[in-house]
Assembly symmetry: C2
Homo-oligomer: 368 residues x 2
DNA sequence: CATCGATGTGAGTCCGGTCTCAATCCTAGG
DNA sequence: CCTAGGATTGAGACCGGACTCACATCGATG
C-alpha cells in the first residue's frame, strides 16, 4: 500500500514544485534546464522529481515549443525488405539526432497516402519522408510543400517538385543493364512490374511511378542506341499478386516469339518470377536469363546466383533522414547526394539460347 | 499574394470561430461533433473551417483527452523480415482501428530498449507492443506493467510477467524438428544463434532470450527422449556478424566429430551459414543437412529448397495489435491465442552421410 | 398563461508544460 | 554606506483543443 490510492494521472511539474517547496516556474526551469536557478533549488527540485519519479509530458512540451521531435515516414510496404532497409537507415539516423519515427504503410495506394500525410500533419510531425505512391497526382504533397513543412522524398520523385529526393538514377542503370543483356545477344527482353495502371503499357503512357517510368525509358534508350526495336509488348505491368506474376511470366515465355531474358522490377516479384520459370521447366540462364532490382543476400544462394541491380538503400535512408533533419533545423541543404546503382553480375544472365529455340525473324532481318 | 503574410502558425478553432461569428466553444463543438449545435451554426463553422482549411491539432486534443491514438512498437531489428512482417501485421491492424505506430529499433540492446520505452511513455503512447530484448532483466517492463499502461509482448516472453504474449511454443516445435533430424540419423546437430552471451553455452546457463532458451531446451528434450546425449558443444551463440557466423559454421563442420546437421536460428543467420557451407565445398543435404527458423519466400528458390520452421509472424502481429487495442479500450482480454509453428519439410534435410565420412564412436557405442 | 425540460450558447477552466514580466535579492563598485 | 545591475523567483499568460457551468430560448404541457 505504498500510497497507491491515486490511480493513473501522472506526476506533473506542479507536483514536483509543491514537493520541493518552490514555484511551478522554478521547478520547470530546474527540470527543463533553462533560465536561472540557484543550486539549492535545483537540488531540491531534482530530488523531488526523482522521489516522485516524475517524467515530462512530451505532448505538453511539444504543444508550446511547436516541435514534436517526431518525423513521419510514409512508404509503400515495410514488408518489402527494400523499404525495411531504408526504414532502418532512417530510424538509425533519426534516433541519433533525437527524433522518433511514426511509420505509415500505404500499400502504394494514393488515397491511403493522402490520408497518411494528413494524419501525420495533424499529429504535428516536424517533417516527412515519403516514398510517393504516385508521381502524377501530387496535390497533397504540393500542399505540404507549400505549407513549408520539411519534407524529403525517398526512392522516387513526385511531379517535378523542388523537394530533396534521395533516389538512384534509374534510367542510367536500366540502360546499362539492358545493354548488358543486349550484348549477351538478347533481343526479346521482358520487364515485369507490380505497378498498377488502368491500361496495359503502350509507349507514351503516363506512369504513376517515376521509378518504373525511368526504368522503361532506360531500356528503350538502350535498344535505341543499339539500333534495335524496343519490344514494347514485353513490358508487363499490373502484376499485382503472386498468381498474376506467375501467369504473366508464363505468358512472356511462351510461343515462338518468347522472351529470352526477364527483368523483375523488385525482390518480391522476383520470387514468383523465378518460381514460375522453374515450374516451366526452364533453366536459368541456359533457357532464360534473369535480372532483378535490389540486391538481397539470398540472391547469392540460388543456383545460379542471381545477377542484380544493387541500390544503396540503407544509405538512401540515412541521407533522407539527414537531409530532413537539416531542413527541420533550418540549415541550408547539403550538396545533393548522388546515389548510384550498380549492376552485380552473377550467374543468371547468359547468352541468348540457340536460335532454333527461339524466333528466327530477328536473324532473318539482320541478314537481309 | 493570397494573404501570405502570416508565415507558419496554423489555423485554430478560435480562428474558425471568429470567421463563423460564433464562440470558440460552439466552433469546437461543431468541429468536434459533440454537444448540441444548431444546424445554422454547424454549417457556418464547417464552411469557415473549410475556407480556412482548418486542421485540428492532435497534440492539443491528446493533451486533454489523455489519448494519443498512438501505439509504440519496440523491436530488435526491422531490417529482419521476421519483424518486418510482424510490424506489417501490427500497423495494418492499428490503422484499421485508428491508431498510428511509432516504431523503435533496439538492435536487441537492453539499454536501447529501456530508453525506447521511456521515450514512448514520455510521448504518452496509449500502449506498447514489445519484443523484449531480454527476458531476464525486465525491470523497465515491470515498471510499465505496474503503471497500468497497456502492453503486449510479441515473439518472446519476459520474465514470467502476466502480460499477454503472442509467440509460438518454441520448445515444442524445436523438439519436433530435432526429432525429425534424429530420425534421419543425425546425432551431431549444431545450433547457431546471434544471441549475445557473456560466456559460451553450457547447460543450465541463463539465456537472455526466452526464444533461444526454449529452442535449445526443445533440442535437449528430443535427445533425451531418444535416449541420446545432447551435443552441447554444438550450441553456438554470439554469432553476431557475418564473419563470425561463417567461422562458427566452419568450426562445427570441421574435424572427425563434425556436425552433420546445422540449425540456423533465423533467416539472417541462415544466409551466412549456407554460404559458409557452400564455400566449404559441402553440399546440402548430401554432406550436411540444414534447417532454419522462419519461412521466407526465398527458401523455396535455393537448390535444394530449404526445410524451415514456419512461424505465423504476420498473424502474431495482428493478434498483438488486437490484444493491445482491447486493453486500451478497457475490454477484457480475448481467449489467449495459440500460435503454432510448423515444420516445412523441403529438401535440405537428408539422411546422415555414410559412416566413413563421420565419427564412428556413436556407432561403436551402440554396438557395444 | 405559467412552467418544465430540452436544446443552444458563450464564458471560462483545464491539460502540463514553456516563457514573459515584474518584483526581490545580492553583491561589487563608487 | 548606497546603488546599479545581474541573479533569482513567483505569478500568470499561453499553446489549441475539450469540457463544465450558468444562462438564455423555445415549444409543449397542464
Amino acid at each position: 500500500m505504498n500510497g497507491e490510492g491515486a490511480r493513473r494521472r501522472d506526476v506533473t511539474v506542479a507536483d514536483v514544485a509543491k514537493a520541493a517547496q518552490v514555484s511551478k516556474a522554478q521547478a520547470a526551469r530546474a527540470l527543463g534546464n533553462y533560465g536561472a536557478v540557484s543550486d539549492d533549488v535545483r537540488e531540491r527540485v531534482l530530488a523531488a522529481a526523482e522521489a516522485l519519479s516524475y517524467r515530462p509530458n512530451e505532448l505538453a512540451r511539444s504543444m508550446n515549443t511547436g516541435k514534436s521531435h517526431t518525423i513521419g515516414v510514409v512508404v509503400g510496404d515495410i514488408e518489402n525488405p527494400h523499404f525495411g532497409l531504408a526504414t532502418r537507415g532512417i530510424t538509425d539516423t533519426a534516433k541519433k539526432a533525437g527524433y522518433n519515427v511514426i511509420l505509415v504503410n500505404t500499400d502504394e495506394d494514393r488515397d491511403a497516402e493522402v490520408d497518411a500525410v494528413r494524419v501525420l500533419l495533424d499529429k504535428r510531425v516536424d517533417g516527412l519522408i515519403i516514398a510517393p505512391a504516385s508521381s502524377v497526382e501530387t496535390g497533397h504533397l504540393q500542399e505540404v510543400h507549400r505549407s513549408g513543412r520539411p519534407m524529403v522524398f525517398i526512392d522516387r520523385t513526385a511531379g517535378n517538385m523542388p523537394v530533396e529526393t534521395m533516389a538512384v538514377d534509374m534510367a542510367r542503370i536500366s540502360r546499362e543493364a539492358t545493354q548488358y543483356l543486349l550484348d549477351a545477344g538478347h533481343r526479346r527482353i521482358a520487364f515485369i512490374s507490380t505497378l498498377r495502371t488502368d491500361t496495359p503499357y503502350t509507349p507514351g503512357i503516363t506512369l504513376e511511378s517515376s521509378q518504373i517510368a525511368d526504368r522503361i525509358e532506360g531500356m528503350r534508350e538502350a535498344f535505341l542506341d543499339a539500333g534495335l526495336p524496343f519490344p514494347e509488348d514485353l513490358v508487363r505491368l499490373n502484376a499485382g499478386d503472386e498468381d498474376s506474376i506467375r501467369s504473366v511470366t508464363r505468358e512472356v515465355l511462351r510461343g515462338r516469339d518468347r522472351a529470352t531474358a526477364v527483368v523483375a522490377s523488385d525482390g518480391l516479384i522476383a520470387l514468383s518470377v523465378v518460381e514460375a520459370i522453374q515450374e516451366l521447366g526452364l533453366s536459368i540462364p541456359a533457357d532464360v536469363s534473369f535480372l532483378m532490382y535490389d540486391d538481397f543476400a539470398w540472391t547469392r544462394l540460388t543456383t545460379p546466383p542471381l545477377t542484380v541491380i544493387a541500390q544503396p538503400v540503407y544509405n538512401m535512408g540515412v541521407a533522407a533522414a539527414k537531409a530532413l533533419i537539416r531542413q527541420m533545423e533550418g540549415l541550408p541543404p547539403a550538396a545533393p547526394a548522388q546515389f548510384t546503382a550498380t549492376l552485380v553480375r552473377r550467374g543468371s544472365v547468359g547468352p541468348r539460347p540457340a536460335v532454333r529455340d527461339v524466333e528466327r525473324e530477328d536473324v532473318a532481318a539482320r541478314l537481309s
